[in-house]
């Protein structure tokens, strides 16, 4: 058996599938994928659980499959969350450096981060992530490590991802109810971007779009840090639904047509082409125009990209994405989707590959698993941080606290 502490598990409860990825940290602390479990998901709509019982059952299947494959017992997971209620925005915290010599100390850094996190959220919302971007000392932007520098004002830009507390809690409670601990809750978009991007691309500036079954997450990295993120509750389900509506087909049929004949752009050879649908006896029951099928899909995806492009335009980030756009998620398998995206974003668009982890490579190169793999990566990073930085100041604080308490008691 493996030592429990080496195991990092990512769990994504997605709209189309539930996916459990088991990673094992090697000696250098890099994750190695050793197990994968998945099951079809029926109790989730637009990334949020709507049928607890179904999800519980399917989750159990996925976990046991992953446990068998990796030959470990899963005790805790990093849980990916998404949903239309999740928002990301940037906030700037400000803190005066009050010491006589104006030297910025570790305490000042902690304080300014605390200030930046103190934001006006609706009372029912909770912060999922607060990611530090850059420090700014007396108006000098782009400071990475301000400790030891001189200055009178220390500022920090944070990217805050927040969501509806109860809705997030639903997923957490469901997992905990199965005697599995939740190490951390991670925004799916962040996880996918971790899986897909390497440091160089983050530094250059990149946009990751994860088009899943029920939702689409997007995350923008500029100069190595997250600058923008968001969720649109539009995904592959919408493609199927549009097709079902437009071509008058049941959803399952539409889903199959989407996979077999779908395209993000109307293909020249399919113009005017029709397709006969057969029933179980091989008789043609309906003809479907492939051109319409592809145009319906094209319009939906075009709109999706346009909304994201518009958002980036408003945030003024379009010119910072030198590494281009990375597509991932199950729905990014639609043929020609990169051409469509290229047309809308006017920049290089590629399919993202989760190639920065080792292990079962056949499983890794699928866009559907980017989030779950990213969750493992996130977990591994978190663990490493904890090991590498046995925080001296907090350790000391804890000790003084303890001493204080002891004194109080006596």
């Amino acid at each position: 058996m493996f030592d429990e502490s080496n195991i990092v598990v990512g769990l994504e409860i997605g709209t189309s599938k539930i996916c459990v990825v088991v990673g094992e940290e090697n000696a250098e602390g890099a994750p190695n994928i050793i197990g994968l479990g998945q099951s079809l998901s029926n109790g989730v709509r637009k990334g949020e659980i709507c049928d607890q019982e179904k999800v519980e059952h399917e989750l159990r299947l996925a976990i046991s499959e992953a446990e068998q494959m990796a030959d470990v017992e899963i005790r805790s997971v990093y849980l990916g969350v998404t949903g239309g209620h999740i928002r990301g925005f940037n906030n700037r915290g400000k803190h005066p450096v009050v010491t006589a010599d104006r030297e910025i100390s570790e305490d000042d850094v902690q304080d300014v981060i605390k200030n930046a996190k103190a934001i006006n959220l609706p009372s029912e919302n909770t912060v999922i992530h607060a990611v530090r971007q850059n420090f700014c000392v007396d108006g000098q932007d782009g400071v990475m490590k301000p400790v030891g520098m001189l200055g009178s004002w220390l500022e920090v830009d944070m990217h805050v991802v927040h969501g509806h507390a109860n809705r997030l809690q639903n997923a957490i409670r469901l997992v905990k109810g199965m005697q599995v601990e939740v190490d951390d809750v991670v925004f799916n978009g962040l996880a996918s971007s971790l899986a897909v991007l390497n440091n160089e691309q983050k530094e250059l500036g990149a946009l990751v779009i994860d088009i899943g079954g029920g939702t689409t997450e997007y995350v923008v990295y500029v100069e190595g840090g997250i600058r923008h993120s968001g969720v649109l509750a539009v995904g592959g389900d919408h493609l199927s639904n549009d097709l079902g509506h437009g071509l008058k087909l049941p959803l399952s049929r539409a889903e199959k047509l989407k996979r077999d004949n779908g395209s993000a752009l109307v293909k020249e050879e399919n113009r005017g082409q029709t397709l006969s649908l057969l029933n179980e006896f091989g008789l043609a029951v309906k003809t479907v125009n492939v051109e319409y099928l592809q145009r319906i899909m094209s319009l939906r995806l075009e709109e999706l990209f346009e909304i994201i492009a518009q958002e980036l335009e408003q945030a003024g980030l379009t010119n910072y994405l030198r590494a281009g756009v990375f597509l991932t998620g199950g729905s990014s398998r639609v043929p020609d989707i990169e051409k469509l995206a290229e047309r809308i974003f006017q920049m290089n668009v590629t399919h993202g590959h989760a190639d920065s982890v080792g292990g079962i490579t056949a499983a890794l190169d699928q866009p559907e698993f980017a989030t779950a793999i990213g969750l493992v990566k996130y977990g591994a990073l978190k663990k490493r941080q904890r090991v590498q930085r046995p925080n001296l100041t907090t350790g000391l604080k804890n000790m003084t606290n303890m001493v204080g308490r002891l004194l109080q008691r006596s």
Partner: protein
């Protein structure tokens, strides 16, 4: 954009042959009002169930049959339609030789409502594009006439390439209480005339930024509520601003409210050779700001005879609010491709529309997509995904009004 180098109208090699038909009593009255020296070179045809003797028209057609014994249609649409169908070949031959046919009619009565759809069909069969200018009756004229008018309007929409309709009730905003009946009707006539003139100018004046007739048709087709149109002129150094003010305060536009609600707007500017880009920009800018949700089709042309005048024609079309029971059809051209195929005009994508379906369309081109109810399909029970007021769960192709032909 491709600026046409020839500016004078007579140098235009592809002259459109236009015929204007006045149908029924009201239509013939309107026709007489239109038949002025301005429209020289256009054939005017008067069509009525009884004798259109009073008409000031080049051709007069009396659809006289034994059926009616020389009397009129008697306010009965069915009778009007019956005689028109009987004389279909006469109507068709009257339509020969024209590229574009305007039909002027007052809907609600027997002749106008009954004959116009048949005439439109005949004209189409004769190979012409059909644009109908019709009035809807006053509310005080009673429900039956209203119903007949609506029915006829639907029928007309199915066959005509475009219908511009003016509900007479709206006239009350233009005239005060003391205005005489004659004057009121003159106002209606003038308004419709302005519409005809505006469209006529679009078609015959060579455009710097031309508006194709197909643009006009695609704008008017499938829009099931009334269209509002305005034709304003302004002179002087501040003519652009004056024109904009006139448009925005135009009574048919409800202080610009119609523009804000419309989802397709056609703007055509005509001026003398001194038309500046800044003027065009100013007018378009203001109109664009008024109708953020609309698809805008813009045209500009130069007419040396206008001297210092700036004429602006605005046609605003709004999708209907009441749904049609008939088998719908899709029309217009696909987004994106349309713009590339038709150079020289500017199109903006049409956007938010409240959760209503596209109303069913004019011609039965393809019957694959019946869009009478807005369906959110599998997202029926889930929280709607709203983005800038648009429900993203409704299929995109519905909201964008896409289009298969």
């Amino acid at each position: 954009m491709e600026p046409h180098l020839s500016l004078a109208p007579e140098e235009n090699p592809k002259r459109v042959a236009i015929k204007i038909f006045g149908v029924g009593g009201a239509g013939i009255t309107l026709l007489s009002a239109v038949n002025t020296s301005e429209f020289a070179g256009i054939d005017f045809v008067a069509v009525d169930a009884d004798s259109p003797a009073a008409a000031n028209a080049t051709v007069k057609i009396q659809l006289e049959t034994k059926l009616l014994r020389g009397l009129g249609s008697g306010g009965d649409v069915e009778r009007g339609r019956a005689i028109a169908e009987e004389q279909f070949s006469t109507l068709k031959s009257a339509c020969e030789g024209a590229n574009v046919i305007f039909i002027l009619a007052g809907l609600g009565g027997g002749a106008g409502s009954g004959i116009s759809p048949v005439l439109a069909k005949a004209a189409r069969e004769a190979g012409a594009l059909v644009l109908a200018f019709v009035t809807l009756p006053f509310e005080c004229e009673g429900n039956r006439r209203e119903a007949q008018a609506q029915q006829s309007l639907e029928a007309l929409r199915l066959v005509a390439d475009g219908v511009i309709c003016l509900p007479c009730q709206k006239i009350f905003r233009l005239v005060d209480e003391n205005t005489g009946v004659v004057e009121t009707f003159q106002t209606i006539g003038r308004l419709l005339l302005e519409g005809v003139r505006g469209v006529w100018q679009l078609l015959v004046r060579p455009g710097l930024i031309p508006i194709h007739f197909s643009d006009l048709c695609s704008l008017l087709r499938d829009r099931h509520a009334e269209n509002a149109f305005a034709f304003v002129t302004a002179t002087g150094p501040a003519r652009a601003r004056e024109a904009v003010e006139k448009i925005l305060s135009h009574p048919l536009f409800d202080d610009g409210r119609v523009l804000a609600e419309s989802n397709a707007v056609l703007v055509s500017l005509t001026a003398g050779k001194d038309l500046t880009m800044a003027e065009m920009n100013r007018v378009m800018d203001h109109i664009k700001r008024q109708c953020t949700h609309a698809e805008i089709i813009m045209g500009a042309s130069v007419d040396a005879t206008l001297q210092e005048k700036l004429c602006v024609t605005v046609i605003a079309a709004k999708r209907g609010l009441h749904t049609n029971k008939e088998e719908p059809a899709l029309s217009i051209t696909p987004r994106g491709e349309a713009t590339s195929l038709l150079p020289g005009h500017h199109r903006e994508s049409s956007v938010p529309r409240s959760g209503r379906t596209r109303r069913a369309g004019a011609k039965l081109i393809q019957t694959q997509l019946p869009l009478s109810i807005v369906s959110r399909g599998r997202f029926d029970k889930s929280e709607p995904t709203l983005h800038q007021g648009e429900d993203l769960d409704v299929p995109t192709y519905l909201r964008r009004g896409a289009v298969w032909q």
